[in-house]
Point group: C2
Chain length 642, copies 2
């Protein structure tokens, strides 16, 4: 076998691995890639095989998003955790005998096998060379496309009535609820709350009730004097490469009491202020009309009552907006909980995170608030400082979660596998019941080892950050082939990990990776009243993006998001599930068809090359064709469409 | 004489030249530098000698800014142009004999002499070396200051109640009225105007009246379909290094008819739409409360009635806002007017620009609208593409303006001298009458020859752009010593002349040049609803500015601006005319006193060095002291203030 064939075989297998994991968990895998894979396998592709996640549609007019009455009945199943995975049984007897229902999930050994294959692949010389060359080619090809077709794209957009960048839908695909307001907003809110509620009991200290006035007095400050400087929640030069300092910025005036009072769902006032702030942010988005956000709320896994409390907060304060899609973030901080003896082992943490969701799925009426909340939850995120090295390498010899009782944190991959596996089983159960399913959308590749991006390639529907794809051509090329959406936050990176001008966003976008723009933490990073627009504006200015680029990124953000099928059809066009130009409705997206044709042809060309490689044709002939075809292709796509 | 003494002598003389020109024209020159100059000359410095420009204060509550009744009486003087300069005579008889009143102005030969001296200085080897080293030193010194005192500065700001970057006053020191709204605002306005006024007569074509509906029909478009893409007023990749394409962007949908209708003061509807748009922008600024702008309106010098028409527009539509300070921009396009035979020679253009202003100053009641308008005009700008090379070198042999009847444009310096000289005389006359005076604030150093920055060093109170100071260490150092404010617009530069990351703003700021941030043309460059905040936010992100940096830049913008003395005292503190920390009121500016002390000590140190050089002390001793002093100074400024 020559190098080219070796590479193609490896890339092909990598894609089939991802396809398998995506299917099991009701995550997405692109049609085009599936078609090519079936083609190689000599099978025919059926659209019905393309599984899609389910999201709760927006309530129809007059419908109450908090309506309990229609909750499905109890199935009577029993859910139990075993070796870090939740199993569902028909009844307690079956559970005792461990005769679970058939909700398949890639087991531990398979996962390790697949992972080991990918670890070898990304280090394999020929594949590294091949993918590096292809990526270089993709970059140059886009530059040629731009030179040839930029004015054509602009012409299409100018002729497209009503729609421009301002009224294209854009989703803030990565934002933390606790930092979703900007610093000025939080400051104003604190001042306002004090004017109204100075004498309200807002806190308990050693069993003693404390008024807001007394609380501020104990901190030796008066909200009237507060400024964004003294509030001190904004990242600055001090936070660069210092995730610890950045985390401390979540405490207004450095006081965790104020974080508890204003930015937590659980406190003496039942998270009322936090709910109000979020509803104000939502109301700003509704006014802006074309902007949406996917805020993350935390479930820590420290105790099993967290879900009940969080959903109680959600329902009590009716924290709902058509412009918000909710996600759950799970911080990877087992080591802290174990160190304080809050949990006996890692398995308990997983159980606290997933068992309540299984139970509410089996018997929704047993916990109606949680069941309502879960209808509005669209996915899970895994969060923390990726640059912390765990030292543990996930392998067949790793302890099972119930055996993991040391204080040391498991590795990123270990976390990811167990989150993925439980979500996969959960989604199968929920799909059977006609309930909405969850996407797995971890933070990944912001820093740390390249294996993070490998674990997510196997398990995640899409990721946030992805900076480290810079470091592995093989993974970068695979993320391109599988069109895995990446929510990038260059302003966040600029404050934490990577200077703005060095951000790979432009490079990824040019090569055809599916990137969207997101704010991460407006409280810490943004200055203006419209953080998402600020993010787009700065990217447009620094990277000199064209309108077509910006609208393509906005379209990517809607595709990546957990908006319901109905919303996506409304915002992108009814054929949005089709890939290539026929899936694009320029009247809604303002993305030029010339651009769509270029992207689709380019992707098919790369997939085709791999398939040709598998059919063992000669390397140099293909490369030769490759070059001849380029110029023809580019002019063709252009002529073809006019 | 050794090199050091040569440099010091040259720099000293350069400063005295600037001081002379500033005094004659009621432009500003810093106290500290004056004190040093007097010291060298063996004279004593008197604060009374520090001339200040006069700006009309804000109308008091109940006062009408358009009140005609209090206009001063006719002095009966006669004003006439001779050799490009307006002279004022007691009466027509004196005029015929050319016996002008004593309103001194540096004559042509003196100007050329001074200019030639400066041209030689900026090319002089020893001075180039000396200033280059001093600038390098200033840069390193600031970096050291930052490392030592950054946390101290932050601490001061945190302890400063009520005030933060958001409620510091900031002035958009350079913005063109015809592009002061953003593209989305203009688009909305056009759509709205069509909904209300479709049947209104808005245009005359070959004597035939045209309704708005017919006008849009003739352009084959309907405002309902219009988008920011088809409006096409935003700069993009196509405008880089193409000032011509950029200028064409002023035409919405590429149609000059729409520019006439929406962005001109003179048209069939008497500029009503343009006035309304500007008032909307003003109202947004008033709502934002802490933001101000200094928009430029054009006087072309094509015919003498321009001033009457422009002031008529201003008064008729009552285009007044406390948040706007007006300026007049004069495009350097004599060549176009001469080519079309609109003017017989350059002298006529100057006459059209200045004579009406002199006449309204002598006899305000003869043109009450113009007199009212002039009360609200704060200065003159000189604008056009600086990269166009004129070929002409201003010298004693240059033709006088009345003799300049060729189609070729005079050089930048020629324009600048004649604008400056007329403003100088005008300001003396106006000061005698107790009227407000005008600042000269040309566009300078955006592109083109380095001599532009030299001409402005002699004549301008402050400048816009200044990018080319990068290219001459001598001029850069002189701009630092004389603390000449520079309104920088990195986003504008990014679209036209220089990529954002390469913008010298950060470098200039660190070295201690007085820089402010301005938008230039929000219609072409900005995306959000708050263009000035967008400008600050992007600079803060890309250059990683600290809060103290941003507040210092905001403070610079107020100092640079033409806000009245009363406003400056209110926004910066009553002692704002004092230099150094005693002139700063941190409660109003949010600039740390540590920073102010650093800036002041650094400036004094550099001035002192020159004075020492003039006293012919030994070079190497001073340089030695220099190094020893640095560490002491920096720690001292810090200890001293706490």
């Amino acid at each position: 076998m020559d190098d080219f064939e070796v590479s193609c075989k490896g890339l092909f297998r990598a894609l089939t691995i991802r396809e398998k994991y995506m299917k099991l968990a009701y995550q997405r895998f692109p049609r085009t890639a599936s078609q090519y894979l079936r083609n190689v396998e000599g099978e025919s592709f059926k659209i019905e095989d393309q599984l899609q996640p389910d999201f709760t549609p927006l309530p129809k007019s007059g419908e109450d998003p908090f309506d309990f009455k229609t909750l499905p009945k109890n199935l009577g199943y029993v859910a139990r955790m075993k070796e870090g995975l939740i199993y569902v049984y028909n009844d307690a007897a079956a559970a005792d005998k461990h005769q679970p229902k058939d909700l398949p999930c890639p087991d531990y050994d398979t996962f390790i096998d697949d992972m080991n294959f990918l670890i070898a692949l990304i280090a394999q010389g020929p594949t590294k060379t091949y993918t590096h060359r292809r990526l270089k080619f993709l970059m140059s090809k886009f530059n040629v496309h731009e030179m040839l077709n930029e004015m054509e794209e602009m012409k299409e957009l100018k002729l497209n009535p009503h729609r421009d960048f301002y009224n294209c839908r854009k989703v803030d695909t990565h934002i933390h609820a606790a930092a979703c307001m900007n610093q000025k907003h939080l400051l104003r809110f604190i001042k306002r709350s004090y004017r109204v509620d100075a004498d309200r009991i807002v806190h308990k200290l050693n069993g003693k009730e404390v008024t807001m006035k007394a609380l501020f007095e104990s901190l030796h400050l008066h909200p009237y004097d507060l400024t964004v400087d003294s509030l001190d929640v904004h990242a600055g030069r001090q936070t660069f490469q210092r995730f610890d300092k950045f985390n401390a910025k979540y405490n207004p005036v450095g006081a965790s009491e104020l974080r508890d009072l204003y930015l937590k769902t659980e406190n003496h006032i039942n998270g009322e202020y936090f709910a109000t702030i979020i509803k104000e942010v939502a109301s700003d988005l509704e006014d802006a009309k074309y902007q949406y956000a996917e805020p993350r709320l935390s479930i820590y896994g420290c105790n099993p009552a967290e879900w009940t409390k969080l959903s109680g907060w959600f329902v009590k304060h009716r924290v709902f907006s058509p412009n918000l899609k909710w996600m759950i973030q799970v911080p990877r901080i087992y080591d802290i909980f174990r160190g304080r003896n809050f949990v006996p082992h890692f398995g308990k943490m997983l159980e606290n995170i997933f068992l309540p969701v299984f139970q509410a799925t089996i018997d929704p009426q047993s916990n109606p608030e949680l069941s309502i909340f879960l209808k509005h939850v669209t996915g899970f995120d895994s969060v923390d400082d990726e640059s912390k090295h765990s030292g543990h390498m996930f392998s067949t010899k790793s302890p099972k979660p119930e055996e993991w009782d040391i204080v040391k944190n498991p590795s990123y991959t270990y976390y990811i596998y167990y989150m993925y596996a439980n979500i996969a089983v959960l989604n199968q159960l929920r799909r059977q019941r006609g309930m909405n399913t969850f996407l797995f959308r971890p933070h990944c590749g912001e820093a740390g080892a390249i294996t993070h991006l490998l674990a997510s390639f196997m398990t995640a529907d899409n990721i946030s950050h992805g900076l480290n794809l810079k470091k592995s051509p093989v993974l970068q090329y695979l993320y391109f082939l599988a069109q895995i959406p990446i929510a990038m936050s260059p302003l966040s990176n600029n404050s934490l990990f990577l200077e703005y001008a060095k951000n790979p966003l432009l490079e990824f976008h040019k090569k055809g990776l599916v990137v969207s723009l997101s704010t991460d933490d407006p409280m810490q990073f943004h200055y203006t009243k419209e953080p998402l627009m600020e993010e787009y504006a700065i990217a447009a200015q620094v990277f000199k993006l064209s309108t077509c680029d910006m609208c393509e990124i906005a379209r990517n953000s809607v595709l990546q998001s957990a908006m319901s099928h109905e919303e996506k059809a409304h915002f992108l066009g009814t054929d949005y599930l089709k890939e290539g130009p026929e899936g694009n409705d320029i009247r809604k997206t303002n993305v030029a068809q010339v651009r769509m044709a270029y992207r689709f042809e380019t992707l098919c060309y790369e997939l085709n090359l791999i398939m040709e490689g598998l059919k063992a044709e000669l390397h140099h002939i293909i490369l030769y064709n490759n070059l001849v075809n380029l110029s023809i292709n580019l002019v063709y796509s252009n002529e073809f469409l006019h």
